[in-house]
């Protein structure tokens, strides 16, 4: 015999709000600044740690491995390999979406970090880990993140 579950008593509800606009933050954005400055000249710029040699893109002026401030700017290749990817096939509620988008994290040649972005590809099933891809910048770059259109398979 199945047990009949008694519904839980609904007690009153009261509310409160954490208004995020009551907070402010200052963020050090050396990495993004360098990245968009590079876009202007159609370059991908990062920072290299003078101690351990790690290259970060976006390149903040801090090496977390060595715990030091770093300043050396280096240019890395626009080409790299897809380190991992995902395809958004549904929205947050689980409903299928019509325009399937592919997000990738790409390890650009010459860098030790991964750059995240959108991959332009006709069929998401063709993507694989290790697939060569390159950064696509728009024709006229003006030094914003929007200069980077997407990644494209090579």
């Amino acid at each position: 015999m199945e047990k009949v579950k008694k519904p839980l008593k609904e007690t009153r509800q009261v509310s409160d709000i954490l208004d995020m606009s009551s907070l402010k933050w200052r963020i050090e954005a050396d990495g993004l600044e360098l990245l968009v400055q590079g876009f202007k000249e159609k370059k991908i710029l990062g920072r290299k740690c003078h101690k351990c040699g790690s290259v970060y893109v976006p390149g903040l002026s801090f090496c977390r491995k060595c715990f030091i401030t770093i300043e050396d700017v280096v240019e890395v290749s626009k080409k790299g390999k897809i380190a991992c990817y995902t395809a958004s096939l549904a929205d947050v509620r689980g409903n299928p979406v019509e325009n399937i988008t592919v997000s990738v994290q790409v390890n650009l040649d010459g860098s030790d970090s991964w750059l995240m972005g959108h991959l332009e590809i006709d069929d998401w099933k063709k993507v694989y880990v290790g697939m060569p891809a390159e950064v696509v910048l728009r024709e006229e770059t003006n030094g914003t993140l929007a200069d980077m259109v997407c990644f494209r398979p090579i």
């Binding site: 839980l8 008593k9 609904e10 007690t11 509800q13 409160d16 954490l18 995020m20 933050w25 963020i27 954005a29 990495g31 993004l32 600044e33 990245l35 968009v36 990062g46 790690s54 970060y56 893109v57 976006p58 390149g59 903040l60 977390r64 380190a83 991992c84 990817y85 995902t86 395809a87 958004s88 096939l89 549904a90 947050v92 689980g94 409903n95 299928p96 988008t101 997000s103 990738v104 994290q105 860098s111 030790d112 970090s113 991964w114 750059l115 995240m116 972005g117 959108h118 998401w124 694989y128 880990v129 290790g130 914003t144 993140l145 929007a146 200069d147 980077m148 259109v149 997407c150 990644f151």
Partner: protein, 412 residues
Amino acid sequence: MRNVAIISVGYNGRFVAKRPDVNIPELIQPAVANAIKKTKLKYSDIGVVVEGNMPTFEGINYPHLWFSDHIGAAGKPVLRISTGGTTGMSVFQGGYYCVASGMFDVAMVIGWEKHDEGDAQVGLIGIVLPEAFSMFQFGPDMGGGGTGMMGGLSSTGGASFQALSYLHRAKGTPDHIDKMAAQARSNAAKNPYAHLQHPNCTAADIAKTPMVSYPLRYGHTCPASCGACVMLLVAEEKVKKFADTDRVAWVKAVATASSDATTGNLVDGQINDPAEQAICEKIAAPKAYKMAGIQNPKKEIQMCEVYDGFAHQELMWPEKLHLVDNSCKAIDEGRLAIDGDMPVNPSGGVVSTNAIGASAMVRVAEASLQIMGMAEGGHQVPRRVKNALAHGWGGLFQFVTITILGDEPVKR
């Protein structure tokens, strides 16, 4: 170093999605009462209380202040520890250090979450809000589509990167994740405290659920639960006095390690593969095994409870913990089942029950119940568990905590 034993575990009841009948302290209190009931302890014997949850999920700063009177903490030392997903185990380890340090003989640890009071999704996005919004100052989002950025920032998006990267390394397929999720849901059906219970769930059942973010389906993700877990820890000299059972679980090792964010770190430049988890494989796990005196974890450990917010992690973590060589192969061979040779999450895991602040503690609690032989409802591992491992992860895929329990204290 003093040896510390877990003498009792208490849950508030079955973990569920909504508890409209109680407020937060009323949710937690029965877990405290249940833990104490199974011992010879009185409230006055408890030396210190250690508590934790995810504070922004319920919007209460230092919530332990409020439920002082409900958890036997009024007039007592209370320590609050909160470290994201690992909170439960960080709290447990806090309790361990309270006793191991010699400062206290008895510690009560509490991990809880009442997800129906707040918005967990907003709470999770809150991890990266300042960084994400700072990007707008450099023009619209990278990648043009919006998903490029947010896909990496939402928890499921980050996890799907990890899942694919893991499958690539382990040469597995998404079917393996379906299988793992099915095993978790079936195990949960044998655990009276689990949230999502699905008796005899099959991989085909899971494969029917919609794909959220490739390769992760709805059936691979965890629910948001309301629940609390409480454990009582006592010093070796006091075990006989307070324990109501001959079989207690001894803490053999504790370890933790953190890196920077391994997904969603858009401002700083991410430098770790989220599926690499060197903090676990190379730092925390070796440290824990050394402390526990375990040379061959595959042989010496009989079961594990890993923190699997997403089903693929139940495959990944046993590998990173040196318990299984290849989990995809192991699940095909049935070795990860309750009656297998390395049972993973007999409780159903986090993927079946997730009250975040409690989740990592529940891993320790379940591991200890397996050692005590007290896992209820048919999820007890059939062979004698001499050593068990509990694991938690948190943050942006960047924290790891490990606890190893045994049926005998370590001779130090």
